[in-house]
């Protein structure tokens, strides 16, 4: 007998007491999916900013017209000499960065691990923001790039539009369903990488980007 048949056989034998009815009839789940709970904050964007900053990430409100310049400013603040920008990101981002004298990489052709490790920063768009938890979710579409891009460089400048920010996790899951259906990977980011493994005292910055800069585009 294959291990598959053996495991499934044991599972079925173990569940001899369970009536042969559909799962949903057997166990009711008292939960309304995708619902924003009563009492959720009205000021979604304000809460989002507050909660992201709680993780010691820096958030700036920017207008659509100034996004590219502010990206370049953020990179300049951290004195990086190179940044990778996914090919699906707006061209004016790349132009503004290059104009600042910072080398722009596009991951076309695909960068090696070593090349990425030698790159100072990554600039990405995002898919969803979650106010309650201060989370940004990437679905790694063309304006966000493959997963390694937003992981290996030490500075992540992340651009999120106001209308992408939802109140809480259930709303976010509902918005992310199409990405999952398209089999896209998701990365949920809540602040810079961190650890509490030594005496449970939080230290920001381990393996992922040690600095997270968020540009919230509103207006």
């Amino acid at each position: 007998m294959s291990s598959r048949d053996a495991v499934l056989g044991r599972v079925r034998a173990a569940l001899a007491d369970v009536p042969a009815v559909p799962a949903a009839e057997d166990v009711a789940i008292d939960w309304e999916y995708g619902q924003r709970p009563a009492g959720a904050a009205d000021d979604t964007l304000g809460l989002f900013v507050e909660r992201v900053e709680d993780y010691r990430a820096e958030v700036s409100w920017v207008t659509p017209a100034e996004v590219a310049a502010r990206i370049a400013d953020a990179l300049g603040d951290h004195e990086v000499t190179s940044a990778v920008v996914p090919s699906g990101a707006p061209q004016d981002w790349r132009d503004a960065i290059a104009a600042r004298g910072i080398r722009v990489l596009t991951d076309e052709p695909v960068l090696s691990h070593a090349e990425l490790d030698g790159t100072g920063a990554v600039v990405t768009a995002s898919r969803v923001g979650i106010a309650e938890t201060g989370t940004i979710v990437l679905d790694h579409g063309p304006d966000q790039g493959r997963r390694a891009l937003s992981l290996v460089p030490d500075l992540h400048v992340c651009v999120i539009r106001a209308e992408q920010v939802v109140a809480d996790v259930p709303e976010a899951v509902a918005r992310l369903r199409p990405s999952i259906d398209a089999r896209q990977p998701l990365t949920w980011i809540s602040g810079p990488s961190a650890t509490s493994d030594i005496e449970l005292s939080r230290v920001e910055g381990v393996h992922g980007p040690r600095t997270l800069r968020v540009l919230l585009v509103d207006g």
Binding site: L8, P37, R147, G208
Partner: protein
């Protein structure tokens, strides 16, 4: 076993062969440093958890939803496993099934060898701890590098994990510094000169040490926090980014997933991603959560294996009371709140699953034949704090008592059993109890002094540190009878 080890050797011996819990506990209780480290850590995280849980007014509703989703999954697990297998396969993953630890370990060894890899990088995973994958790989000449900071501390310290979430919770910063200074250079990039015990500097040393391994590794091994049946998506919840490194950079990824990690739909994650971070690291959300659905062309590993692991889980599933232990999402809230765990730490439990959840999971996964396994259901004062904080409402005290009954029933006659039998008979009738109470009244009259102090023999268990009250010379029953001229009842 290869002649020269590639990775640091863990302590010798099999966890299951440890002495019974009270004996291990007595030893740990004398460790002043351990007591201090644990008290500090558990107190800190308990407070933080209470604060972030209080932020969600619908927390109880969430717990009930988590419980129901897991119950639904477990009670129809065969259907959901088949759906998961189909979705994963459709997404380009290769699905394996493993009945036990040996089968799972062999699958990993075979894949690694097929890729010509003599090392793997690992995401922290309880399932791989449970099957002792690292030692199986070591024996096959493959080095397994732990990349979670706490797991790294444990591995380099030739130690064992003592906590589900923070495996090095028993170590303080100066011990970590000592381990890094002593061991890190033997297995890769050494720590910088002048390494201090500043946690940020220690984390920085781990970053440099591990980056080299991440960038060169061809094969990674992970577990999964959730396996979504409808979309064929695996989920890893983490903090440091070591998980993202392992899940993204190597060409091949092998994920060992306990069959109970299944959830029916992607939508169900909205419940668990609220319950888990607040219960485990006491954060609104953990820094990184990765979700991947098989192979994504041009992004991440292009060969993805998923090993669905039984290793005793179907035995747990077969127990209608004990089954609820499989709802566990490995958050460790029960460890952090447990007054027993706080004082003895994780090593006394003789299992990779310590604390209250370990006390009900280990004896079900391994049986109760060994001394330590038979003692685990009794390693609790039944205070119930664990049940109160469990995000999926596992009634741990109920299962503990249920397992105590199994231990009593499966072990032969004993002195304790004889005493209990006699006691049970006495308590079947008020007149029998009244007769026995004549003895306690007599003891009250003849014993000297106000209280009973230290006694030898079996009574030492109580009287070693605690006085025992002297029984009163008149029971309440006799007082009542005297007051009511023979009582109204008879």
């Amino acid at each position: 076993m290869s002649a020269v080890r590639r990775t640091p050797a863990p302590p010798p011996g099999d966890l299951q062969d440890m002495p019974k819990f009270p004996k291990n506990a007595a030893k740990e209780l004398r460790n002043t440093q351990l007591r201090k480290n644990l008290r500090h850590a558990t107190t800190t995280i308990r407070e933080k958890r209470a604060n972030v849980v209080a932020e969600l007014p619908h927390w109880e509703q969430l717990r009930r939803a988590g419980e129901a989703i897991k119950n639904r999954t477990l009670r129809h697990l065969d259907d959901y496993l088949l759906q998961l297998e189909e979705s994963l396969t459709r997404n380009g993953a290769i699905v394996h099934w493993a009945s036990d630890a040996a089968e799972a370990n062999q699958i990993v060894i075979d894949v690694a060898r097929a890729k010509g890899a003599d090392e793997v990088v690992k995401v922290k995973s309880m399932a791989t701890q449970e099957i002792d994958l690292n030692e199986a790989l070591e024996a096959a000449g493959i080095a397994a590098w732990e990349t979670d900071l706490a797991e790294l501390i444990v591995q380099l310290g030739h130690d064992r994990p003592s906590h589900i979430l923070v495996p090095a919770i028993h170590r303080n910063r100066s011990e970590v510094r000592e381990i890094f200074t002593e061991e890190m250079g033997r297995y890769g990039t050494p720590p910088p000169d002048g390494l201090t015990d500043d946690p940020a500097m220690l984390a920085g040393a781990a970053r440099v040490h591990l980056r080299e391994k991440f960038l060169r590794a061809k094969v990674a091994v992970s577990g999964a926090n959730f396996a979504v049946a409808d979309s064929g998506t695996l989920v890893v919840v983490e903090s440091e980014g070591n998980g993202r490194m392992c899940l993204t950079l190597p060409e091949t990824l092998i994920s060992i997933v306990g069959i109970e990690k299944t959830v029916p739909t992607f939508d169900d994650l909205e419940v668990f991603l609220q319950l888990l971070p607040r219960s485990s690291t006491a954060e609104r959300m953990n820094p990184y959560t990765s979700m991947w659905s098989g192979v994504r062309e041009g992004d991440g590993p292009q060969e993805v294996h998923v090993v669905l692991l039984d290793n005793g889980r179907t035995k747990v599933l077969a127990d209608e009371v004990g089954r609820q232990a499989l709802r566990c999402i490995r958050c460790s809230a029960c460890l952090n709140i447990c007054p027993v765990y706080e004082r003895v730490g994780g090593h006394a439990y003789g299992s990779v699953y310590p604390g209250p959840i370990g006390a009900i999971l280990t004896p079900q996964l391994r049986g109760t034949a060994s001394a330590v396994d038979a003692s685990l259901p009794f390693a609790s004062s039944l205070c119930g704090a664990c049940y109160e904080v469990c995000p999926v409402r596992i009634n741990i005290p109920e299962v503990l008592v249920h397992l105590r009954n199994q231990v009593v029933e499966s072990h032969g006659p004993s002195v304790e059993g004889t005493i209990m039998k006699a006691g049970g008979w006495v308590m079947g009738d008020g007149r029998r109890l009244a007769l026995v109470q004549k003895g306690s009244e007599l003891a009250g009259r003849v014993l000297p002094g106000e209280v009973i102090g230290p006694l030898p023999g079996p009574a030492a268990g109580w009287t070693g540190a605690r006085d025992l009250p002297k029984p009163p010379t008149q029971t309440f029953r006799d007082w009542w009878v005297a007051e009511h001229q023979g009582g109204r009842d008879e």
